[in-house]
């Protein structure tokens, strides 16, 4: 088997999660330090993975394949390609960032950091697993820690939000499992291998049924309109780091499902349902943007903006055009960075002013210029300013969708392009009321940005700019894999 870098990346956080439990709970700083120590190696190793990865190859790399339960054809099978690797790196990065952003947590510290590390393993596993059952186990593993993080460390309505989140996604998971089993039994290959199943001959009716079952599982996670209503509540109630990972990674699990499962394994059904999916995607874009405009709570605004932005990913998936799917995958990464930043900044503002309500804020650029400046930067990134990562993602989606020969897709691309204006509208309006004009918040000293905060924001800012200036650093590997998947 040799040096198994993927398992190392995957299980180091889990080891940390267990070890943290052994530290006496009074020793808060040790707990925080130890969890950082167990999270950082995954980040460093995934960086190495990027370096040693063959970006021009569309196939799975660094594969691990060990028999697990022979009788049913279950394997412990991991691997990365140009679609999963960016997400693995994003997960490792945002997890470490989230730990740093959680330094101010002082209640039930041990449980919190242990759950965060467990969550990291779960998320990494979803992107690394190549065996359907393994994939599903990690998929479910993500659910529990997040449920507890929202439910125990969340805001005032945390009980409602966490149960809603849990039940909603559980419903999706159950159908996903049924879909996986149906695929297993009808493919005739007696395998859960996600790579081998690509060639499975399926009757059209079965394929469509599997698509619909898995669709619900993925759509709830994305979330696609109208399955989104768990998201604003979960985001608003979750602690900052919870929101960051929820928006940054958990939503991508859904879209990853479409790119990893629906498009390659169920290509016929993907084409069959493409029109419907495109319509839902555009509704998500426009509807999410309008909802965001109506919000008074910045956190809710950012939450709805996610619904809108994930719509671009889905539009790219629906159009099945190479540029658009490239754009969709890039948008996953870009949205993870940008929206992760937005939640971090909202958290920083809330910690200082003790409010997230837009009408109660204003003039922050005079009181905390650096944070306000970074908020402006991130908002412009989110509204797709060229030269930053979001632009390429959305532009490629629009370009690809428009290039599909049908008038329907051209119309969808035009509508999606109009969504960009609404996005500009709500972000600029938010900026005007939050960082511009005069300050009229609570008359207290607002601390300047701390070194720790700068440390965890800096890599995200740099990546947003880097991908914006040279998208090839991500697109090269994404493109080779996308071309392989679309055949």
């Amino acid at each position: 088997m040799g040096f198994d870098i993927l398992s190392l990346i995957l299980f180091l956080p889990l080891a940390g999660s267990i070890l943290v439990l052994l530290i006496p709970k009074e020793n808060k700083n040790l707990i925080k330090g130890a969890s950082l120590v167990f999270s950082l190696p995954s980040l460093v190793l995934s960086g190495l993975l990027y370096y040693y990865f063959d970006h021009s190859l569309g196939a799975m790399q660094f594969q691990v394949n060990v028999p697990w339960v022979r009788s049913v054809g279950l394997f412990y099978q991991l691997g990365v390609d140009g679609i999963s690797l960016p997400l693995v790196i994003l997960t490792a990065l945002l997890s470490t960032v989230s730990l740093l952003a959680s330094w101010t947590i002082n209640e039930k510290v041990k449980g919190y950091f242990s759950l965060m590390l467990l969550l990291e393993t779960g998320m990494l596993g979803v992107f690394l697993a190549l065996d359907f059952i393994l994939f599903f186990i990690f998929w479910e593993l993500v659910l529990l820690p997040m449920y507890f993080i929202i439910g125990l460390w969340g805001g005032p309505r945390r009980d409602y939000a966490s149960i809603k989140f849990f039940l909603y996604t559980l419903l999706g998971s159950v159908l996903l499992l049924v879909g996986i089993l149906l695929l297993y039994f009808s493919s005739g290959l007696k395998t859960f291998d996600m790579v081998r199943l690509i060639n499975a001959p399926l009757p059209a009716a079965i394929e469509n049924l599997v698509y619909l079952l898995t669709f619900v599982g993925f759509a709830v996670k994305v979330p696609i309109w109208p399955f989104h209503s768990w998201l604003p509540d979960a985001h608003v109630e979750a602690p900052t780091a919870g929101s960051v990972l929820l928006a940054g990674i958990l939503l991508k699990m859904g879209t990853y499902g479409f790119v990893r499962v629906s498009i390659p394994i169920l290509p016929g059904a993907s084409r069959y349902f493409a029109t419907a999916l495109a319509i839902l995607a555009v509704i998500s874009i426009i509807y999410g943007a309008f909802c965001a405009m109506a919000q008074k709570d910045i956190k809710k605004l950012v939450a709805y903006s996610s619904v809108s932005h994930m719509g671009y990913v889905m539009l790219g998936v629906a159009s099945l055009a190479p540029q658009a799917v490239n754009g969709a995958v890039l948008q996953m990464v870009s949205h993870g960075l940008i929206t992760g930043m937005l939640f971090l900044l909202v958290g920083m503002i809330y910690e200082r002013t003790h409010t997230r309500m837009i009408p109660e804020l204003g003039g922050l650029s005079t009181r905390m210029p650096v944070i306000a400046g970074i908020l402006a930067f991130t908002s412009f990134a989110s509204l797709g300013l060229p030269g930053l990562s979001g632009f390429w993602a959305e532009f490629l989606v629009l370009l690809g969708t428009f290039s599909v020969g049908l008038a329907f897709y051209k119309t969808m691309a035009v509508l999606a392009a109009l969504g960009i204006v609404i996005t500009a509208g709500y972000f600029l309006w938010m900026l005007q009321r939050v960082i511009l004009q005069t300050y009229h918040g609570p008359a207290i000293e607002l601390p300047r940005i701390s070194f720790r905060e700068l440390v965890y924001l800096a890599p995200l800012i740099m990546l947003i700019i880097l991908i914006g200036i040279y998208p090839g650093i991500a697109l090269e590997m994404i493109n080779s894999t996308v071309l392989a998947i679309l055949g």
């Binding site: 809603k164 509807y287 428009f402 509208g425």
Partner: protein, 646 residues
Amino acid sequence: MGIENIVLNLVIVIALLPLLSFVLLLFLGRFLPGRGGPVATALVGASFAASLYVLFQVLTRGNVASSMVWHVAGSARFTLGLLVDELTVFMLVVVTSISFVIHLYSIGYMHREKRLSWYFAVLSLFTAAMLSLVIADNYLQLYISWELVGLCSYLLIGFWFEKKSASDAAKKAFIVTRLGDVGLSLGIILIYVSTGSFIFSEVFQQAEGLSMTLVTAITLLLFCGAAGKSAQFPLHVWLPDAMEGPTPVNALVDAATKIGAGVYLVARNFPLFELSAFSTGTVVWIGAISALMAATMAMVMTDIKRVLAYSTVSQVGYMMVALGTGGYFAGIFHLMTHAFSKALLFLGSGSIIQAAHVQDITQAGGLYRRMKITAITFILGALSISGLPLFSGFWSSDQILRDVYNYNFIIYVILTFTSILTAFYMSRLVFLTFFGRKGDKAEYAHESPPVMSIPLILLAIPTVLVGFIGSPFLPEAYRFFTLFAPESFGVRQVEANYAVMGGPIAADLAGILLAYLIYQRNLRPQDWLARYLGPYYKVLLHKYYFDEIYLFLIVRPVLRLSDFIGRFDLAVIDRVVNWVGDSGLRFASAIGIFDLGVIDGIVNWVGDTMLDNSSRFRLSQTGYTLNYLLFFFAAVALLVLWIQFA
């Protein structure tokens, strides 16, 4: 290294110097002397010097271009490249020269501001964005710079963001132009989808083969972007509000950067526009409407900067008309003469605002004696914009009108009539500000310091002289000027057409005379215009109610819709989800009741019945042996009887 490479590298340096200034000032600004202003000015000045060299090289040796692959997605190859042709070097010189002067002027004008290094940083970034826009060899690179220009104008118009009006204006400037930019981005996508390339030269080569409908659609979409950036009807509404920004910023926006970007886009895509008569017709009419409509509004505005803003919209209308009628020279020539004149006027108005603390021209007056440099240079600029003979603006507008005369007589009449209005509002501005009754503010006014007055003089020189390179009376200079046009566009008629020239000159003189009579000699009361125009005057004061119409037709409905959807999400979608959840709970509790009442009931009933019965049976279990014996014998007796009878 060949001269071509030197030119290419130099062009990159020209764009990078202001960018360097931005980065330097953003991070180290507060440590720099004058908090960075002089450094930024020097760097932009170096760009200007390099631009002059590049201009000389390109005009004598020809175009240079270079391109490399940037990244690939699917089958789409994105390239980075430079195109340094006549149009590019022309724009480079105009942008860097004006930007340099504005940087210099800002050192004086803005020195009391607390966010000084931020101001200079963004001013430099603005310049860098505009420069990278004009050196791009493909649509995508152009679009990226284009949006950066928009971002910088947002940041600078909203520089005094503590004021609600300033932050409103910044937001408006960004969103209105973004609306146009949707058109531009779709146009670019359509170009790529139909030609498979983003590179100008490749697209132009294939343009002949495209269908008329497609070319028309592409050019109209591109023009949406141009109209937004260049503040043309009906997307002009952001420009007057942009006057909330610092005055030097207005000079930069109106003369060299944002406004110029739209005109540049049309000029750059001239080979495409030429193919579609419908598109050029649209460009001409939008330009003519903008020219006339903005001029009428400029007549009644009392804010000195707003008069200049509407004047910009009007003059850019001239440029669009020129480009639409095929007058490629005339369009970019007017862009240049207008850029110098308008920058001069804005900086002059800044000097007035700072010296006399007055922006309302009805409150000013008699400033001439107090600030002669400002007054004289301002008057030169006003005369140039009015198109008075021998000033730069005259030569360029004369060329435009000559082209238009051959194209469409109605447009010619509209533009000539606009010339009367232009001369009138410019003269009104001059008479009310510098002459006539001394305003209260004039007492304390004083000439601005050299750091501000020298830029005025620097701009006054090209304002007067630069037009001669386009004068039909100086063939040598004109021949130099024709070097600016790519050969493919053909060299246009050079001879002066006195009939065409005469109309506008008469119009100018009429406008100036009218303003002189009203505002200088007071032969008519000051509110003569208001009385004469009647209700129309009110319409003009309200800027044709554009803001109100947009508020009513777009802004309010959008906000209402978003409010509605926000409520809908909570009241319907979320309620359905909660209803499902609650139903689940209710179902569960119903099951619970059923379970308790029915299933458990049956079980309990069975148990209870057993208990009941057994308790009855228990009565028989008396424990008395005699009773048992009695039962026993009774049973035996019954058994015997049964056997007997069966």
